[in-house]
Symmetry: C2
Subunit: 664 residues, 2 copies
């Protein structure tokens, strides 16, 4: 059998599995796996450095299927190359409840899936984080331990999403030459030919941002291999436009949008079998083909062994640190660093903005944690994200810094941070204004869905922004973030709670965290010196008790906690026993045992929630019969104190609400 015949049979195995699994599920996307089977066969068969027996090998090449709807391409490859945890039965159960083969690849669910994909553009943007992490980790631990490529298969949809431009520009600025994107240039989207909506010269577009770009016949194995080899040798990130026929092999449907997201149907599948000369039953892979694929899976065994030896031979301390970093464990001095911040804050007293509290905390913990990588979407000195320890920029050619200038690209930043975490070895954090969390929301959702540790530093967290006005004043963003499952949202009230929030965010390995922080100064409220309790971990707690059986309970987060404390003083001075509950995190509070929650909420006849944001979400904490002092619509431009007064979010407003409720 010629090399070409062997290649064709290996590629046709992918095509057959894809069309048969989609047919069996009666749902899914056969077109892309069939179209990109040749590219994938060359990549996995001849190029990719990977070891199916050790999917977590730190120095493996990463493969990211940005066009996640083509999941059967990836599942086929995982099965064919011999990953444990991907059997032919898993392929047969494609898209069934509880299977290892869900509709789109899910990180943490299926072995060998480097990142969850499906929402278009996320894969290519996440891959920038992978490739950047590789360069950074190599800079810190040397190329004997870290030296791998990041390969991406992307579709037209990925390239049309604006997110991809942010990713392309970041990769170009960072000269991520070990990032290689193979674009499934099949001229088809769901609605029809790409010409309906695209007139962009993609090669020129990528080149404009410092990429190498080339176009090849995506069904010519030699051309594919040559292009990948050229890309590997380039000093720029590379785009390989692979001109393909979507649904390649389906004689009556290929090249049309009819094969994109619909089963081929029994007749066309039979015709495809004939056209491809594939005479085997569904889900049957002949032994010569399976052997060839399994051999491909063994191709990097030697490289893996040599890498293991290099790791074993490494300096003990370096090795220990490398392994700790990859396990994502925090060093022992972490807790001390946080404790030091809290002790100093209590000693110093004084009012600071929580964005400054965050900076103070970051100074200590970035010094203690070399794995932390900071950044901001061009608001460094507003987000207070740069510290002494992270003051050197991550940039070519050395990549030895710890601070990324993401540019005004919140979405690209958030997606790349996902990639940095997924690669391993780093804990990324990045800043923007809270209101612009909307710009990166899809990538935040991906982090939450994957359950990975990323920290968002969202400052300017309310109408306290002041003069910038309603475009820049978050009103609904906190509620909208609290709505995302598996995302911890912290809105701390002072330096102590901010330090505790950072501690919890970094200890939370199974999901992302948001810190919502003020621009305006706030007094220190947590003066409970001597105790070591991390009260923020409870989500909500009584900050100030009432002088007697409470008639009023005030619940607040962030900048409104000090307002509640001041209102309590006025109410107490009028003989009304009043307590204050600080609520830095809804999620953590709602996870407390019911009895604890009941105690914190208390029995006061008047309950008032106070937050310079909309009410949505508060009812679950305080009950829908509680009063609310907060926002009921968009904000307004003006000096912050005047804006707060305009919307009645003041000490006087809280007192008046309490008195009115007590009367009522």
């Amino acid at each position: 059998m010629s090399n070409r015949e062997k290649h064709d049979r290996m590629a046709n195995a992918i095509r057959a599995l894809a069309m048969d699994a989609v047919q069996a599920a009666n749902s899914g996307h056969p077109g892309m796996p069939m179209g990109m089977a040749d590219v994938a066969t060359v990549l996995f068969g001849k190029v990719l450095k990977f070891d199916p027996t050790d999917p977590h090998w730190a120095d493996r090449d990463r493969f990211i299927l940005s066009a996640g709807h083509g999941s059967m391409l990836l599942y086929s490859l995982l099965y064919l190359t011999g990953y444990e945890g991907m059997t032919i039965d898993d392929i047969k159960n494609f898209r069934q409840l509880g299977s290892r083969t869900p509709g789109h690849p899910e990180y943490g669910h299926t072995v060998g899936v480097e990142t969850t994909t499906g929402p278009l553009g996320q894969g290519i943007a996440t891959s920038v984080g992978f490739a950047l992490a590789e360069r950074m980790l190599a800079a810190q631990f040397g190329s004997d331990l870290v030296d791998h490529y990041t390969y991406v298969i992307a579709g037209d949809g990925c390239l049309m999403e604006g997110l991809s431009e942010e990713a392309i520009e970041i990769a170009g600025r960072q000269k991520l030459n070990k990032l290689i994107v193979m674009w499934d240039d099949n001229h088809i989207t769901i609605d029809g030919p790409t010409s309906l909506s695209v007139a962009t010269d993609q090669l020129a577009r990528f080149e404009a941002s410092g990429w190498e770009a080339t176009r090849i016949d995506g069904h010519d194995p030699d051309a594919i291999l040559a292009a990948i080899e050229r890309a590997k040798a380039s000093d720029k990130p590379s785009l390989i436009a692979c001109r393909t026929t979507i649904g390649f092999g389906a004689p009556n449907k290929q090249g049309t949008n009819g094969v994109h997201g619909t089963p081929l149907g029994a007749a066309e599948i039979a015709a495809t079998r004939q056209a491809l000369g594939w005479e085997y039953d569904p889900f049957v892979i002949p032994s010569d083909v399976l052997d060839a694929w399994r051999l491909a899976g063994l191709r990097s065994r030697q490289a893996h062994k040599a890498w293991n030896e290099r790791l074993s031979a490494a300096d003990m301390e370096k090795r220990g640190e490398f392994e700790r970093r990859l396990r994502g464990e925090l060093p022992s001095k972490f807790s001390e660093a946080v404790a030091g911040v809290i002790a100093k804050a209590r000693a110093d007293g004084g009012a600071v903005a929580t964005r400054k509290s965050s900076e103070i905390t970051l100074e200590a913990i970035t010094a203690a944690l070399p794995e932390m990588v900071g950044g901001s979407a061009d608001l460094t000195h507003s987000n207070n994200t740069k510290t002494k320890a992270t003051s050197v920029y991550v940039e070519p050619p050395k990549y030895d810094g710890r601070y990324v200038n993401w540019g005004i690209r919140e979405h690209g930043m958030a997606a790349a941070m996902n990639g940095i975490t997924l690669h391993g070895g780093f804990i990324p954090y990045g800043g923007t204004f809270l209101v612009f969390s909307d710009y990166c929301r899809p990538a935040i959702r991906m982090a939450a869905l994957m359950g990975i540790r990323v920290v968002y530093v969202f400052t300017h967290d309310s109408i306290g922004v002041g003069e910038d006005g309603p475009t820049h004043q978050p009103v609904e963003q906190i509620a909208a973030l609290r709505a995302i499952p598996n995302l911890l949202v912290f809105r701390p009230c002072d330096t102590v709670e901010t330090a505790e929030a950072w501690k919890l965010a970094l200890e939370h390995k199974t999901g992302p965290s948001v810190l919502a922080l003020t621009r305006q100064n706030l007094p220190l409220l947590r003066t409970d010196a001597g105790t070591e309790r991390c009260l923020t971990a409870r989500g909500a707690y009584e900050l100030v008790a009432a002088s007697d059986e409470a008639k009023v309970s005030l619940f607040a987060s962030g900048s409104e906690v000090s307002m509640a404390v001041a209102a309590r003083e006025q109410l107490e001075s009028q003989g009304i026993p009043t307590r204050v509950v600080s609520v830095p995190s809804f999620e953590l509070f709602l996870n407390q045992p019911e009895e604890s929650r009941r105690q914190v909420v208390g029995q006061a006849p008047v309950k008032i929630a106070i937050e310079a944001a909309i009410r949505q979400g508060w009812d679950a904490i305080v009950g829908s019969d509680a009063a609310f002092v907060g926002m009921h619509g968009f904000g307004a431009s003006g000096p912050a104190p005047e804006v707060f007064a305009h919307f009645g979010i003041t000490v006087e407003g809280v007192v008046a609400t309490a008195l009115s409720r007590l009367k009522g």
Copy 2:
């Protein structure tokens, strides 16, 4: 005085007002207005077709300040050219509460502001909608009535946001040659030189998408004028890179990020006055300069008069229709069209997906409303957004269609829809999957903030998506959309409610609306034939009464209403009087009088809310003590009925919850 001297004095008036207003406010962005003063002076002084005495003149050129933080540039121009509603006192009150000069330009708040800007990228993307609307309206009413340009000033931040790429690609595909973007190419962002984060050749980038691109000295009036004239004559959209010095004129700070977003300070302002030869007190414009500017404001009077004459001379019917379209009034046959859909649905009965219900409604109303322009982000046949009346594509050279192929660009679509509405003459609607509302959320927020009529058709609105899995199953999106102030969110339960939702969305001129629609079939529930009441307008209403005094009230939206009806039958058959409340819109319900709301909520001892989404928001409707059958985290991949069963969102689940509550 030479022309150049005159130009310089006019431009320096902008610089002086900008630096003085920012200084007085002690907050704001002087750098951009000072840097782009020359470009703006040429544009407003020599090119722009506008009439300050009639800011709403339909055929004015549109000017969009995409770099909205440079609002003092726009406010200065509005004052200098003589807009009523912008006085020197307004300039002095820059950024003060209640002033006409908020931190960022706000549409509907300040005369002459075409669109709210500030969140970067929104302006340039919205401008694509303006330019497209111009072409479409010209195609329908002729170039004697519609023939104007759309000018944009954009900054580095606008170009870095991925949204801008979507906008650029749409404009290139649509060959919007009357769109002219002037980029403030000042090499500075907030964090420092653009080289920190950008290595993109912007001219090449725009050219790759079919734009004309050129670079000029942004301080050379002749070069600016020549470039604009060339751009006007081009058959492509144009980018003019205006190489400028940020903070031009401030001798010690210009060209640095120090002038971007901070007052210059008294000393630097004095030095700037000296450097520019501007010897006047703050807010004083010498009469020669003010006269020159006011003359510029009169420049298009003749053109305006001629246009008025052409409109007067037009066919009465055409003129009436043109004016109706621009007023945004619905034609009288609109209500009939909706009523026809409802009558036919009741006659037909049968189960249909609400996305199909929406299509049925759209068939009728797009036929009745020529102003409706449809589209989808490449999910036309999933969103069911294309109708017979809108089947012709909007595309060059004729632009006579009514359906836009937006491509896989949700954010660009939503922002362009804002521009289409703002331009006037059209009601845009556009589709994608509900889960991808996250991708266009910032533009939805802009529509809500501006209070403009845009309709989002978001299908596949729950775990009912099934096999595509958690990446494609919205769980928190409905809550997150309900969180946006001034956005109507509809989740209709059948064809009648869907038709009513469309009616309300189109009648709602002061804000955008979302229709959240199912992929799966739903039975007709609103069989109340003969009544003409639009019950959806109440937000929630009793759909099925209990047989006796209700022991259980079931509240549900969308696909879960039929589930509630089935559960009611089971409970009633067990002797438990149960009522069902349909809740198609939280916002409309919460706006009802308290007494009406109390009646709808009722007094049943057991209340259960049912929605295949997270609970957040429901407490405000049903109370925090009610039970909830819905989602508590992300979804799962599998056939939809199995997924519903897996999460306990079933008739049996509702019945069991009711029984358990009745016992407790």
